[in-house]
Point group: C2
Chain length 300, copies 2
């Protein structure tokens, strides 16, 4: 990794986040088109300056095996829509009852609960439309493989399943196994699917997919631990949302179970593992390596 | 249609509904598997004796062009999961606030609101897993085409969009255009996608798809008009849900706008149009013809 110092992550991210934001702007339904209120809510929650970690990982996953961003852009945006959908539903009064997200009122605060539920549903549907659209630039077999990956990572054996166990565990003593289950499903599954989707679309072989699967899982877990740590130690102004909310809710978190220091050590260890998994990828995987480090070093 | 009298619709439906129920039972996640509560809710709402109209239409759509039920079963079940997901979310307190569905307490009454929201989300995700799985018995290109059809029919340009305008219109005077928009999107879009998905998987040509698209749209609209009529005139014991709720909510319905007689005439006219669209299909389309008639003659 002698070239790591030569790689300019900030410039890389700036460019790709701009591509993703432009593509999302283009893919999302128009506010002038009926039903306007639904489209306003979908755009409000999606186009609100997120980090775009997942779409960047789709792109970087493709690049790591010689693909190009333009080839995978519909799927990159699809996964961001799924992430946004999950945030909207998780913020609902019946679930986390959060009122602030990315520095702005949450979707249901801004548009009402009915619209927020349906905006989440519509974003989820749009995500799968976009995956289908990726067949314009990639073979159908690969698109179907991506469909399976992303659907599994979103549902009961992925994100939604993790969120369910997270809610069930609130206010209860949680063991390490359950915490691991929550993190792997709620967060790591979709992050892993992001890297893999990009790689699949770009024609990765089985060995590459195996390495990227492990990379994605490690980065996903590290991301969630870092998130838990930010909820304890973070600056709400930099994060655009409240801190201390996990403890107040009796949420199962890494620092609550293992303490801040052990959590930090585990996050850094996971990043090392992730980077190690990329040892045979050469320079093309520099973005993935740099993103792995960023995940635990971010401030929001 | 001289063979119409020879076709035994009840026997046909009994068999296919059994196949669909068995496949749903198999495809749905186990209640013993974590997160149990989520899986209980998913199974409770799906395995509750629905009419299975949409999966039957997927099968009948395939059969009309020479395909077989076993070939399209994952997609048939996928569309039933999407239908169930939409019922769960529509029943939520923030939307229609319904407490009875198919003769039993609605999902949020039985399992709580958070679980109901997530069960809907998980069913939606499972649906797309199933569509991906249909690549085991059909070419990937056709699966991608089905994915696009189903995702579009579910989202803002389909079911969810129709539901949004339906909610927005409650208690307001609604013109014929808006009512048509609601019916086409909320109900007809997914019914049309059902017939088309089966036909696409079975290798229908463009001309056949055009005819089946028109069939699906007519049957979908007729179904919604019949639904509106049942809400005015139906027997709650046969329907397993309350009647008179549309009027109480000031919902936009066909009978409210045009009266009961004109609504009935329009529904029958749509069925004729649907059957007419199948004129070149021969005996293989008998099930589709019979289902079209059933849609306006049902009692629940």
């Amino acid at each position: 990794m002698s070239s790591a110092s030569a790689f300019d992550l900030q410039a890389y991210l700036r460019e790709r986040v701009r591509w993703v934001d432009e593509a999302l702007e283009r893919f999302l339904p128009d506010e002038g088109e009926r039903p306007q209120q639904l489209h306003r809510a979908m755009r409000y929650s999606t186009l609100s300056g997120g980090k775009r970690l997942r779409p960047v990982l789709v792109i970087a996953g493709a690049e790591a095996v010689g693909g190009e961003a333009s080839l995978v852009m519909p799927t990159a945006c699809a996964i961001e829509l799924i992430h946004t959908f999950s945030l909207i539903h998780d913020d609902l009064p019946a679930i986390d009852n959060d009122t602030l997200r990315r520095g702005r009122p949450t979707c249901h605060v801004q548009f009402g609960e009915a619209t927020a539920i349906l905006a989440g549903d519509a974003l989820f549907a749009s995500a799968f439309e976009l995956i289908a659209r990726n067949a314009e630039t990639a073979p159908a077999e690969r698109v179907v493989q991506v469909l399976r990956l992303v659907a599994e990572a979103s549902g009961t054996r992925g994100m939604v399943g993790g969120q369910m166990v997270d809610i069930e565990s609130e206010g209860k003593p949680v063991d390490a196994d359950t915490l691991e289950y929550i993190h792997r499903h709620k967060t790591a599954a979709l992050i892993r699917a992001s890297v893999l989707s990009g790689a699949v679309l770009a024609g990765a072989n089985q060995e590459q997919l195996k390495a990227l699967s492990y990379y994605g899982e490690c980065v996903g877990l590290a991301f969630q631990i870092a998130d838990d740590l930010l909820n304890v130690l973070g600056d709400p102004r930099k994060m655009g949302k409240a801190v201390g909310t996990d403890a107040a809710r009796g949420k199962a978190t890494y620092p609550a179970l293992f303490g801040v220091d052990a959590s930090r050590r585990r996050a850094y260890h996971l990043v090392q593992e992730a980077v190690q998994a990329l040892r045979d990828f050469g320079e093309k995987a520099e973005p993935l390596r740099a993103v792995a480090h960023l995940v635990v070093e971010r401030e929001g």
